[in-house]
Subunit: 404 residues, 2 copies
């Protein structure tokens, strides 16, 4: 008899951001006259930069003529893009990554969710806590996480590495040896990050113990401090133990265009099996390439004009981050992040739970944020605001919060 | 200790079309002066139709201004597209499918490979044989297929439903009861299809036995005969047992643009569990929507001008199919398909194996096709040519084959 994948039934509620969307829709329906400010989901608001728009138009025109028409893209991405990535994101920072170690995809979310398929379902995974929910949810769906405890918010078989105000958001090494370690720095949701030497500790641990690190660097473009690594390959020995996932969503505004990539060094092997070969096989079988026009748009991000445009874009978001961060501090909130990442992480006031504060903010200030507990048990008592709104909205949100 | 997903090691060779690409590249390198005609991979060659190009330019311009910029798409697709699909592909044919049963994706290949995740790894799957390799390969990667026998080309745990000249390419019902049945009609690779009553037999069987049918209708736009269903939902009771996968690649030339969709009726349940709910959760967790500009391009396909343009496009390919089909028949080849699908399926001459004929054709006529055995054990002794080339190339290929 046919059986469904029973792991899906173990997942509590819906995907975090789908739940929030539903709550906001219900509020909006009940209060049609109220203007809602959305600082919840980490979606960008600035239009695509001129260089990207120009590249898109040009590529669309190529698709209109038989001589220049492009059908299926190469499985792993066009060389024109892979070479730019290897050069600009890696070699220019002293990381020895070659273009054939870059796998172009339709976004970091897809890759973050799919990468677990390379590993046996018996492996133990470790995550920093709180963290982007896709790592845990995709492993739950694959049957790797055991059972969920509603009371603690913990999965029985996941190794959590708490990052809270108490440890300065620098997680300790896992207490139980995991096979796969998910790290996201600059961190979503806390907006905090690690220094090079703090990250090196994880790389050394993985190399000593035969673990693989999945390093999500989707927010690296927001790093403003000197001693913070943009790539895990800045650490010694990382090519032997780490996969890195990157996105064009946050640095160049591609959330609605969809483009990302994953780096798997050729030397990364598990018991002699090349993860590079496995991911090559997966791409060939399960994916059909990112659109040609979108890969050309990605290429334009690396042009001189493109680089200058995205720096301006990031600056605007980081100005919002400073506004929110300083404004909330002035009101007496305990605030983290916002220096190397577009997220503000605040302690909920008066011992409110994360969801209580979510409702409080939505009902009384018409501001949408994201409850910290949605990112893991150690997120309870915290709350995330994004700097991806407009300056006007960021200021208006602050003003409304000040009147609470 | 970390273990990889050992199922990958069970896969023989690389993905079929990657293997062919490598062989062709090697030949090309050794014979730089020889002009190769590619009738292998089912990739389109005509440029995108004017309505689609116009929609793309317009949507790109929307992405250039803050007021009209679109970030993350709704998880399941924009309503403007889902509504056109439900109306034009289903309700206009008398199939009662609503827009919220349509899941927009980046293509039929992704959906074909991912859909198996909804089911337990213990389930038995059945496939028509030969068939598009993604169904089998994705299930092998998930650990559902047992072991591979190099000699027979069979997986120990897969139920094969042969479709050969002997049974007129109408597969019999499976001999062992499967949980999931993959059907692809019009069929890739044979180019043959089923009548409504022949398909109804499978629907009735699935309903009687609690199986789920995954129906890949990527080639429905090529159907020219009256009694051939365009959707499985034309069959009585199909909403209770069938998932349908569709593509914009072949009907509208989107192979390089990436757009497809999957239909999961709300009433389709397995032991009370809604597959619609499960796929909703998967989309929310593992996917971030197809690009806004590409969804607008998809919408344009349904405009009056778009429909007329794609009909012309399809006519050109089907003219090629007729040229190949008739030409090969005249030369004495035993030829199938090419009437309701852009594929020509021929019996290899003189008892050659499929790969022998591949090499023969490549080395002596510089024509690339696809060996039938790559699509399953019953494809051995057959060979696929696609009608997706240009008219000139189709004719030139014929001429070269005639001189063999």
């Amino acid at each position: 008899m046919l059986k469904v994948n029973s792991n899906y039934q173990k997942l509590p509620g819906s995907y975090l951001f789908s739940t929030i969307a539903k709550k906001v829709a219900a509020f909006s329906k009940a209060n049609p006259d109220k203007e809602i400010i959305r600082l919840g989901i980490g979606d960008v608001t600035q239009p695509l930069p001129p260089s990207v728009i120009e590249a898109l138009h040009k590529a669309v025109d190529e698709q209109a003529a038989a001589e220049s028409f492009k059908g299926y893209a190469p499985d792993l991405g066009y060389d024109f893009l892979r070479e730019r990535i290897a050069e600009c994101d890696y070699r220019s920072r002293g990381c020895d990554i070659s273009s054939d170690e870059i796998f172009v995809s339709d976004g970091a979310k897809s890759d973050s969710g799919s990468i677990q398929e390379l590993f046996d379902t018996d492996n133990i995974i470790a995550v920093t806590d709180p963290v982007y929910p896709v790592y845990v949810d995709s492993n739950v769906m694959a049957g790797r996480c055991g059972t969920y405890d509603e009371k603690t918010g913990c999965w029985s078989d996941i190794v959590y590495m708490p990052a809270t105000a108490e440890n300065g958001f620098v997680p300790a090494l896992p207490e139980t040896l995991p096979g796969v370690i998910y790290l996201c720095f600059p961190n979503n949701p806390t907006g905090t990050t690690l220094t090079l030497s703090q990250l090196q500790v994880f790389v050394d641990y993985a190399n000593q113990n035969g673990s693989v690190i999945i390093y999500d660097a989707a927010y690296e473009a927001y790093i403003s401090e000197e001693d913070v690594p943009h790539s895990i390959y800045e650490c010694e020995g990382a090519k032997g133990c780490a996969i890195e996932i990157r996105s064009f969503s946050k640095n160049a505004g591609f959330t609605g265009l969809r483009l990302g990539f994953t780096v798997i060094p050729r030397e990364l092997k598990v018991s002699g099996v090349s993860l590079h070969d496995m991911w090559t096989r997966r791409h060939g079988t399960r994916f059909n390439g990112a659109p040609y026009i979108v890969q050309r748009a990605g290429e334009a991000v690396y042009s001189k004009a493109g680089q200058s445009e995205i720096r301006n874009m990031i600056k605007k978001y980081m100005d919002n981050a400073a506004i929110l961060r300083n404004g909330l501090k002035d009101m007496g909130y305990e605030v983290y992040g916002g220096v190397n990442a577009p997220y503000i992480w605040l302690k909920t006031p008066e011992g409110m739970s994360s969801w209580e504060f979510f409702d409080h903010l939505l009902n009384n200030a018409c501001v949408v944020g994201t409850p910290g507990s949605g990112f893991g048990p150690s997120g309870e008592g915290y709350f995330r605001l994004t700097a991806f709104g407009t300056e006007a909205n960021s200021k208006k949100a602050l003003e409304r919060i000040s009147r609470l």
